[in-house]
């Protein structure tokens, strides 16, 4: 399935969700009513009445009032949870007892996991997600959480980190990446939020039951509370039943899809199938023990909680079925042999040396001056959300050739800040001088010197490595404290604004960074997609197209043609290039924000138009491609690196 259509579908399935949710709420209202009637019958009549006596209180006015109260509780529970989950993936991982793995750890098993995650992220064009370890869990399982690809986290159980081989880990992590790319995380979080409301009634019942038992001098009242508590708990179990049905109906097909995408990504069915077989043979399987584990049960790699009602409530398809779909000729035996973590081969990407032949666009190769330019740009948009094993091998070789100084800087917060500063320094020496003076005065002790060192290292780094470097910085930057984040944010902003002329690439870098970091630091942003077509945002489109033409065209005539090509592709008749004096920082910032709220299909149209604009002159330079990738990342459409091997 096409990335944009998958995104649409993920959003579309909310309709099904709403219907099921409404059914659950109605049933809960009816059942709660019956129970309350019974309970009130008990207390009011001062004696144990017959059920018929309880029903004599039946009254539509009361029914509606109780119904409203129940619906209100559910709504409050759901809204509360949704707000909590909107804090991003880190909050979810921490709620499940996850401890973060420091990016620059030297512990071999952890290093290996981080390397696999880094490769996958670079290959798929997303920022690198931080990895959380569930230390208490010996079952083999994993999850991905977050609102957007830039804000995702990956969680792995101790059992998975220690019990799987590298290729099995790769399979598991590729599966989680496809959840990220297929837009499943947003769905997962929405599900968890909505279901929390349904579960809340049972929770209240549970607490009433416990407090009522302790309380009572007034035995009648306390027995009443006891009955009420018991009743609400029964309703709560009803809620659990419904919530599991909802999860199961949405989740299972997505698991097959994620498995298939993972195989396409790694081109190694043995990896993910091996991991599934290990789960089948492991003592604790994939089960999680954390009390909050059921809330996210639909987001795991494999069935993480016991399915009380068998297949009906299972959040994941059976292991056997999943393995058979990946390896049709499987003999039905689970792999018992536990794998050992070998200390060798964890330092950097294993495949780095073998894939040196794979070429990407390089500065030395220059522009691609042929008619294929348009096709490559178009292909790049098509590949969004569909990285394959060539991208993976490319990512491994890219990481292998990165200067170690840059790579290690990206791995901890202190260096990552300096690296980001170095990345946004201007090429123009005059502006750069001002920027450096600013840094020397404002940045923390040592950061200025560190930045200078990194600038030197960056000079020898190819242009197309800049975006991956930023992606590598992300997990470390998410470890900043709120105060540190604010300082960093202010410095970055000042550095970028010092530039008299707007640089689209730089601006995109900062936007990717900040939109990924914002949820972690309590800045809530709506990600609802409200703009149906590009025609809703003509001025924004015009601004981006205009800036894109500045990257490539040397002559005004060329830039006019390039703009015209983009305009034709986006299909807005009366679009004029933005006038010079209308191009300023606020306008660009607002435009990128609005464009990221386009519906997925409209994003496709927009990116196709950008690609058309970039390749209008039949020449596409690496710089143009990188701007295209950056624009794409800003609107949450991670574009894999652009490889020449596709030609």
């Amino acid at each position: 399935m096409d990335f944009f259509r998958a995104q649409d579908a993920a959003r579309g399935s909310t309709f099904l969700l709403v219907v099921l949710f409404a059914l659950a709420v109605i049933s809960l209202v009816v059942v709660t009513n019956l129970l309350l009637m019974l309970f009130l019958g008990l207390v009011d009549a001062n004696q144990i009445t017959t059920p018929a006596g309880a029903f004599s209180h039946y009254d539509w006015g009361h029914f509606l009032a109780i119904g409203a109260a129940v619906a209100l509780v559910i709504a409050a529970g759901s809204i509360y949870k949704l707000k909590q989950l909107a804090k991003g993936g880190s909050a979810v991982a921490e709620a499940l007892g996850g401890r973060i793995i420091a990016q620059d750890t030297l512990e071999p098993a952890h290093r290996r996991v981080l390397n696999v995650v880094e490769e996958m992220a670079i290959a798929s064009g997303t920022t690198v997600p931080p990895v959380y370890l569930l230390e208490q869990e010996s079952g083999i399982n994993a999850f991905a959480a977050g609102l957007t690809p830039a804000n995702a986290v990956i969680g792995l159980t101790k059992g998975a980190v220690e019990g799987l081989s590298r290729e099995q880990l790769q399979g598991v992590i590729a599966h989680e990446f496809s959840h990220i790319l297929n837009g499943d995380m947003r769905l997962n979080i929405r599900l968890a939020g909505v279901l929390h409301g349904i579960l809340l009634i049972g929770l209240i019942g549970y607490h009433l039951l416990h407090s009522g038992g302790r309380g009572g001098s007034d035995s009648r009242g306390s027995s009443g509370f006891f009955v009420l508590g018991l009743g609400l708990m029964a309703v709560g179990y009803g809620g659990t039943f419904f919530s599991n049905l909802i999860k199961a109906s949405v989740g299972r097909q997505r698991e097959f899809l994620a498995d298939a995408t993972a195989v396409q990504f790694t081109r190694n069915p043995a990896g993910i199938a091996g991991a599934l077989k290990r789960i089948g043979s492991a003592n604790s399987g994939a089960l999680l023990t954390h009390p909050d584990a059921p809330e996210m049960s639909h987001a795991y790699f494999a069935q993480g909680i016991r399915a009380r009602l068998g297949r009906l409530s299972a959040t994941h398809p059976r292991l056997e079925e999943r393995i058979r779909r990946i390896q049709p000729g499987w003999n039905g035996r689970f792999a018992p042999a536990p794998t050992q973590v070998s200390a060798t081969g964890w330092t950097t990407s294993d495949g780095a040396t073998s894939s040196a032949k794979l070429s990407a666009l390089t500065d030395s190769a220059g522009s691609i001056p042929n008619t294929d330019a348009a096709r490559i740009a178009e292909q790049a948009v098509e590949q969004i959300g569909h990285p394959d094993e060539t991208h993976l091998r490319y990512a491994q070789s890219l990481i292998g050739t990165l200067s170690p100084a840059l790579h290690w800087a990206a791995r901890e917060p202190y260096g990552a800040r300096a690296l980001v500063y170095a990345l946004v320094l201007d090429r123009n020496t005059e502006v750069r001088r001002h920027q450096l003076v600013y840094l020397e005065e404002q940045a923390d002790l040592g950061v200025y010197d560190y930045t200078l060192q990194l600038v030197t290292a960056l000079r020898d780094t190819r242009r197309e490595h800049h975006l991956p470097l930023l992606d590598l910085c992300m997990p470390a930057l998410r470890q900043l404290s709120l105060i540190q984040y604010r300082t960093f944010n202010a410095n970055l902003d000042a550095l970028i604004r010092m530039d008299a002329r707007i640089n689209l690439f730089e601006w995109c870098l900062s936007r990717i960074l900040l939109s990924g970091l914002a949820p972690d630091f309590g800045e809530r942003r709506s990600h609802a997609t409200i703009h149906k077509t590009c025609a809703d945002l003509p001025r924004e489109c015009a601004l981006i197209f205009t800036l894109l033409t500045q990257v490539s065209a040397n002559a005004p005539a060329g830039s006019r043609a390039s703009f015209e090509a983009a305009r034709a592709a986006v299909g807005i008749a009366d679009l004029e290039p933005t006038r010079r004096n209308a191009i300023h920082h606020q306008a660009l910032d607002a435009a990128l924000k609005r464009l990221s709220r386009l519906k997925p299909r409209a994003k496709r149209t927009f990116l196709d138009a950008c690609a058309a604009g970039v390749s209008a002159d039949q020449q596409v330079s690496p710089a143009e491609f990188e701007v295209l990738r950056a624009v794409s990342a800003v609107i949450d459409c991670p574009m894999p690196p652009i490889l020449l091997s596709g030609m």
Partner: protein, 198 residues
């Protein structure tokens, strides 16, 4: 049965929700600062790994300064043990405090070594020594930064749990004691530590 009963039930539900919210927020803030310790742990470990190399290099030159070198190693081992304890449970105030003290002792020992090294120009000019001290310095900066992040998040937790109305229930929810800031004993010595130049 009347409307007031329903209102009472609804109020109970909302009060419950309110306390659940406080409980969750306390847990979330605690998780955050616990996770912030991971970064300190990595940096300190790196620092402790560098020190034996430093001592090894210095040994050849400082034949008559055995005690100073042994003191550095002893302090380093003490700090390493303190780190292991603190990393196992960053919410343990005593462990954090003792790590702070051990770090202070190590900084003191390194400071004395620094003074001694001043008297040996050959050692100061040794390429290996220069590289090690440079790495030590940059690690110091990273430690300081990670420590700042940890302390910021500890402060956020403490402030939240001390504010009203959380302070009434924090104890019941198992958040009775304040979390401890990681402060290195004798911070004056530490301030100089990043500037060591052998």
């Amino acid at each position: 049965m009347d409307v007031s009963t329903i209102i009472v039930v609804a109020i109970i539900a909302f009060v419950a929700l309110f306390f659940i919210a406080i409980f969750n927020k306390l847990v979330a803030l605690k998780n955050r600062f616990q996770n912030a310790f991971a970064q300190i742990e990595v940096q300190l470990k790196r620092r402790y790994d560098l020190i034996p190399n430093l001592v090894e290099t210095a040994k050849g030159y400082l034949k008559h300064e055995r005690e100073t070198l042994e003191a550095v190693i002893a302090a380093r081992n003490g700090a390493l043990a303190g780190l292991a304890r603190a990393a196992a449970d960053p919410t343990n105030a005593a462990a954090i405090a003792s790590l702070g003290n051990a770090e202070g002792a190590l900084a003191g020992a390194l400071g004395r070594l620094n003074v001694v090294v001043e008297a040996y120009p050959d050692l100061k000019a040794n390429a290996n020594m220069m590289q090690l001290s440079e790495e030590l310095t940059s690690t110091e900066n990273k430690v300081a930064f990670a420590r700042q992040s940890f302390n910021d998040q500890v402060m956020a937790y403490n402030t939240y749990k001390q504010s009203f109305p959380q302070n009434l229930v924090a104890g019941i929810f198992g958040h009775g004691t304040d979390a401890r800031l990681l402060e290195f004993a004798d911070s004056a010595t530490i301030q100089q530590a990043p500037k060591v130049s052998f």
